[in-house]
């Protein structure tokens, strides 16, 4: 469709905005929510003022069932499951050993000195720090030290300009702790993929939205809720993070090829100029767009807005994501067609600020 409009549509009148809010409220207050209706409304953007984004995203990701009466029970189940995961995966071996001892009721005078010699007690199989045993708490702890350090480094670098994520406040610190916990538990539960740099960027908007839920009863479980939603979101994209699949049709290269095909379909002139003439391959710029779900290309508020649309795709975010990437290219086509390798690459790796509504409008037209 080469005839997509170039000028942005006029800003919707205020009454339309308010009516959008009330339509979302209406959709959400049904006893059994119509997910198709919700998806359609969310795709246009969830109004910030409504304070319902947290609930909408949870519905779109399948975390909350569409039958409202089941919410309390579902949430309680999931949240307690997460608490169990925390107990199992986040304890440190020294604490675990202490717990075991306390339960085995030992007295404080555990020193049992006979003629000056200190009493020795046998160590249960494998429960010493140098143990290489598969079941050893210690071995497990050391295996994950490197991953924990990587996660720690990445979390500290997430959105350094936002008070929510960075800084000395106890709020920022507790948010960072939550992010680390979720990522570490995910890594331990998914030994095949563990932790890959970038997962922190995908988790961040989820956690932010859930933690900012105006309903405090929900906000305090943001960590547990974002854990499950993160898994759900990632499940469509896991293959992008798996190195072994890089060259397969489902891995990242395959996805980038699909993007090329999409651009060729809707703007053959642009695709030819980009890839053949200036040799700007999608993997030079779109790799980050795709694997990080556009979290690095726009400011945080715009990213959240884009995610409203991404999450509303019933077939998973990938198709919509590719359409948005394609739209991003089309919107700057004039500059790209006039540019060479260097200027085009520079432009695409630092995508200029854009009217997000317009971008999403163009993307939508690419169906």
């Amino acid at each position: 469709m080469a005839s997509s409009p170039r000028s942005p549509p006029p800003a919707p009148p205020v009454e339309f905005e308010i009516s959008r809010q009330s339509r979302i409220f209406a959709a959400l207050s049904k006893k059994v929510i119509d997910l198709d209706e919700l998806r359609m409304l969310a795709a246009q953007g969830v109004p910030d003022a409504a304070g319902v984004r947290s609930t909408v995203w949870k519905l779109l990701l399948g975390y909350l069932p569409n039958d409202r009466s089941l919410w309390e029970q579902e949430l309680a189940k999931k949240r307690s499951q997460y608490a169990a995961f925390k107990d199992e995966f986040l304890s440190n071996p020294v604490e675990t050993a202490r717990q075991v001892e306390k339960e085995g009721n030992n007295n404080d005078n555990a020193e049992h000195v006979d003629n000056g010699l200190l009493h020795r007690s046998e160590v249960a199989q494998e429960e010493h720090p140098l143990s290489l045993g598969k079941t050893s708490v210690w071995n497990h702890f050391f295996e994950y030290t490197e991953i924990m350090e990587q996660i720690d480094r990445d979390v500290k670098r997430t959105h350094p300009d936002m008070h929510f994520f960075c800084g000395d406040s106890s709020f920022a610190k507790s948010n960072q702790e939550s992010l680390k916990n979720v990522l570490l538990i995910f890594a331990k539960l998914n030994a095949g993929i563990r932790y890959v740099q970038g997962m922190n960027e995908i988790l961040a908007p989820l956690f932010f939205v859930f933690r900012s839920d105006p309903d405090d009863k929900n906000a305090k479980f943001a960590e547990a809720d974002s854990f499950f939603c993160f898994i759900e979101l990632l499940s469509g994209f896991r293959d992008n993070f798996c190195q072994k699949l890089d060259n397969s049709a489902v891995g990242i290269r395959g996805t980038l090829a699909k993007l090329s095909q999409l651009v060729a379909k809707y703007d053959a002139e642009l695709q030819h100029h980009l890839e053949i003439t200036t040799e700007v391959n999608p993997q030079f710029y779109a790799f980050r767009w795709i694997t990080l779900l556009l979290t690095q290309e726009f400011n945080f508020a715009d990213t959240i807005h884009i995610w409203d649309t991404l999450l509303s795709d019933p077939d998973g975010p990938q198709e919509t994501l590719l359409r948005i990437c394609c739209a991003m290219l089309i919107l700057v086509r004039k500059r790209l067609l006039a540019g060479d390798f260097t200027s085009n690459l520079k432009l695409l790796q630092n995508y200029p600020p854009t009217n997000i509504s317009h971008l999403l409008y163009v993307a939508n037209k690419l169906h």
Partner: protein
């Protein structure tokens, strides 16, 4: 949770070719924060090997060490504990608790780690605790040929130390542990 490896009296190459394989397979870099070595390595290769396990290495001089620059005694602080290190051939009678206790008071430390006898021991007296990690290779000593290879790993956590004793007995690694706390009585000014 700070892990401190204490070992010594390896006597490589004169009395033993190397650490037992089962010990070597457990001693991997990245787990241990400090190594304290009572002495009698005796050669540089052993020093380099220990350094590869952990960069924070402390060694005192044993009478057969080829590097004459190691000190006779050393003290260091790890967490809430002051540790003292001395090979022990200087303290006569060898292995005598009272004499070692005197050295401990002189060094003013909570835990004194000393070797030379090639026999694992862990004593407690009012001045503190004395630990002898034995010989990590099972090398014969001036006193006996019957030596089981052994070393010690201390887990220092706040005011509490868990001492893991690793011994090679009949070809199998046996691990015991000893627990003690630093109480007001053993606090040093």
């Amino acid at each position: 949770m700070v892990l401190v490896l204490a070992l010594g009296d390896l006597h490589i190459p004169h009395r033993a070719p190397d650490l037992p394989a089962k010990f070597k397979s457990m001693l991997v870099p990245g787990k241990i924060q400090h190594i304290i070595c009572t002495g009698n390595l005796c050669i540089k290769e052993v020093h380099d090997y220990l350094k590869s396990l952990c960069p924070d290495l402390h060694i005192t001089r044993g009478e057969y060490d080829e590097d004459a620059r190691y000190p006779e005694t050393k003290t260091l602080t790890i967490g809430q504990f002051k540790l003292g290190l001395c090979h022990g051939h200087q303290v006569v009678p060898w292995g005598d608790l009272d004499s070692l206790a005197m050295l401990q008071r002189q060094l003013d430390v909570d835990i004194l780690v000393t070797g030379h006898t090639h026999q694992f021991k862990a004593y407690k007296h009012e001045g503190g605790v004395v630990i002898n990690p034995g010989s990590a290779t099972g090398a014969y000593s001036s006193i006996t040929y019957d030596v089981n290879p052994s070393f010690v790993l201390m887990d220092i956590d706040g005011l509490r130390v868990v001492v893991y004793v690793y011994e090679l007995i009949d070809g199998e690694v046996k691990v015991d542990k000893i627990d003690f706390k630093k109480t007001a009585m053993t606090m040093h000014a």
